[in-house]
Amino acid sequence: MTHAPFVADTMASATLQDLGHLAPMAIVGLWGLLLMATDAFAAVGFRHFQRRIALFGLALAFVAGLTIYGNADYDGGVEVFRGFLVVDPFSAILDLVLVGLCAGTVLVAGDYARTHRFEYGEQESLLCIATFGAMMVGHAHDLLALFLGIETMSISVYVLVGARWNAKPSAEAALKYFLMGAFASAILLMGIALLYGATGATAFEGIRGGVAEAFTRWLRINDLARALDQGHTASPAASDLVIQGVAKAALLIPGVLLVLGALLFKVSAVPMHMWTPDAYEGAPTPVTAFMASVVKVAGVAALLRLFVATFSTHRLVTAPYGWTTAVALVAFLTMTVGNLAAVRQSNVKRLLAYSSIAHVGYLLLGVVAAANFYGEAFASDATLGGDGLSWSRDAGDTAVASVLLYIVVYAVASLGAFVTVAWLSGNKHEALEAYQWSGLARRHPGMALGMTVCLLSLMGLPPMAGFFGKLFLFRAVFENSNPWLQFLVVWALLNAVVGAYYYLRLVVAMYFHTPPKTAPVVLPGKGAPAVVAVTAGLSVALGVLMQPTLDRADLAARAFNYPPGPSKARRVDGLRAAWEARDPTPPVAAEEPSPGT
C-alpha cells in the first residue's frame, strides 16, 4: 500500500469545494437535521412553521440546483470527493426533479397527517433525509454511494410508512416493505461483494475497467483452454491465465445478476413486485406519492448509472452472458402483469400502484435499449479503435435521454395523481373505491381537471407529456435491430391501450357519473390543490415544450457512459451551445411549487 503523503490541508479546501458542487444535496441533508432540531427544540408556537422551513430549504436547494443545471462547467461531469460522487447534467436534472417532488410531498403530508390525526413533527425531516439519499443515488459514482444512498432513502421511507400509528395497515405495510426491502438490500450487498471480488474496485470507473479486463482475458482464455483440452502441454503461465480469467467471470456474472435483482426489486419489477400494492396501499397516501415518485426515480437512476453506464460492455449485454435478455423478459412480464392487475382493481390506490408497476416495464425497455446500443458502441470502439463517436453511442445517448424524460414525466404525473387521492380523503375512510370518485367534476371541477390531466399523461394521450415520453422511449427502443425488442415495443403499445381503459374508467367516473348524495370530505388547506395544479401544469407544459425538453435531456445523456473528463466535455460542447441557442428558458425550471402556500 503506497499512500501519497498526507494532504490534509488541501483536503480541507477540496472538501469545501466539493460540497459546493453538491450544494443542492448538502442543503437538503442539512435541512433534514435542521428540521429535526426545530421539531425537538423550537418553542411551542414555532412548530407550525415546520412545513415552511422545509419548503424554504427545498427552495434554496432548488435554486442551488438551478445554478448547477445552467452551468456549462459541469457538462463533462465533475468528480467530487475523489470520484465518490459525480456532478453532471444528468444528476443536475435529477436534483431539481427530486427536490421538486419532495416539496410536493411536503406540501401535502402535513395536512394529511393532521386530518388523519397522526401528526408528528419529524415527518418533514424524514422526507428531506430520504430525498438526500435519493439524490446521493443520482450522483453515485461508487458502489458505496449507491448502497448508502439507497439505504438512507429506504430507512427513512420505512419509518414514514410505519409512522401512522392509528391505523393497523400502516405498521403492517411498513413491516412488509421493510422485510422485503432489507432482504433486497442484503442481496444487493452480496452482489456488490462479488463485483468487488471480480474487479477489485468499488468505484464505477474501476469496475468498468475490471469488467472490460475480465472479458478480454476471457477471450484469450477460450483459445488457451481449447489448446489445453487438445492435450498441449500448457505452460504454467497459460494455465494460470485460464484460472484467473474464469474465476473473475465466475464472480462477475453472479454479482451482476444479484445487483440487478436487488435493483429490480427496488423499482418493483414483476417477479419482485409483490410488496408494492400492499406497501402503497398501507402507507399514508402522501408517503405513497413519495414512494411512487422519488423512490422510483432513484431506482431508475441507479439502474442507469450502474447498468447502462457501467455494465454495458459488449460481453455483458449480449448473449450468453448478457443481462439485457433477462431485463427484457422482466420488462415484458412487468408491463403485462402490472396492466392486467390494474384492470382488476377497484381501489384507486392499488390501481395506481399496479399502473406504476406497468410504467416500470416501459422504462426497463428503454434501459435495455440503451445498454444494447452502448454495448455495440463498446464493441466497435474495441475493434475499430474508434473514439466512441459511433452511431450506436448516439443512439444509446438518445435512449438514455428518453428514459430520463419518461421517468421525470411519469414521476410528476404520478405525484399529482396520488396527491389527488390524498386530498380526497378528508375523513377516516379515504375515497379509495372508484365509485366514490363519481361526479367529482361537478363538485370540484378544478381538482377533477388536475387529476384528469395527470391520468391522461400517465396514459399517454397526445397533448400531454406522457405521450411524448412514450413516443420517444418506444422510438429509441425500436431503433434496435433486435426483432424481439421491436416485438416488445408493439406489445408495450398494446399494453398502453389496456392502461387507457383503467385510467379512462376513472376519468369517466369523475365526469359522467352522478355524484353520491354525501359530499366527499377533502383535505383542508391549499397544499394539495397547489401540487395538483403544478403537476398538471407541468404535464401539459412538458408536452407542449417537448422538443426543448428532449434536447435538454439529450444534453444530460450525451456521452452518458463516458467517464467524466475533458473528452466528455468536448463531446458535450457543441450540444450545449446548440441547445442554448434554441431555447433560452429551461423548460424544467417551472418545477418549483411556490413555498408557503
Binding site: 448502497f147 410505519g162 421493510f178 462479488l194 471480488g197 400494492p277 398501507g282
Partner: protein, 100 residues
C-alpha cells in the same frame, strides 16, 4: 494461508442459510435475524476480497455496512414493536389486512 476461495465458500454458505431463513421462517424476528446473517455473509466476502486485492476498499465497505445494518435493525425492530403494540403476535402470514 487460507485460500480466498474458501472464504468465499463460507460467505456463500452463510448467505444461503440466511436466504433459507428469510424464505422459510414465518416469524418476523427470525426473518430479521436471517437478514442480518446475510449481511454478515456479504461482509465476509468483502473482507476476503479486500485481502485478495490487497486494497482497503472492501474493508471500508464492510465497515459502513455494519453501520447500515445496525440502523436497519433498529428501524426494523421498531416496526416490530409497533406491530406488537397493535396485536399480540408477530407472524408475517397474519398480515392479512392488505390482501386483495
Amino acid at each position: 494461508m487460507v485460500p480466498i476461495t474458501h472464504f468465499l465458500y463460507l460467505a456463500i454458505l452463510l448467505f444461503l442459510i440466511g436466504v433459507g431463513g428469510v424464505l422459510l421462517r414465518r416469524n418476523a424476528l427470525f426473518v430479521l435475524m436471517s437478514i442480518e446473517l446475510m449481511l454478515n455473509a456479504a461482509n465476509v466476502a468483502l473482507v476476503a476480497f479486500s485481502r485478495l486485492h490487497g486494497n482497503h476498499d472492501g474493508q471500508v465497505f464492510a465497515f459502513f455496512v455494519i453501520a447500515v445494518a445496525a440502523a436497519e435493525a433498529a428501524v426494523g425492530l421498531a416496526i416490530i414493536v409497533a406491530i406488537f403494540r397493535s396485536r399480540d403476535d408477530v407472524d408475517i402470514d397474519d398480515l392479512g389486512l392488505l390482501r386483495d
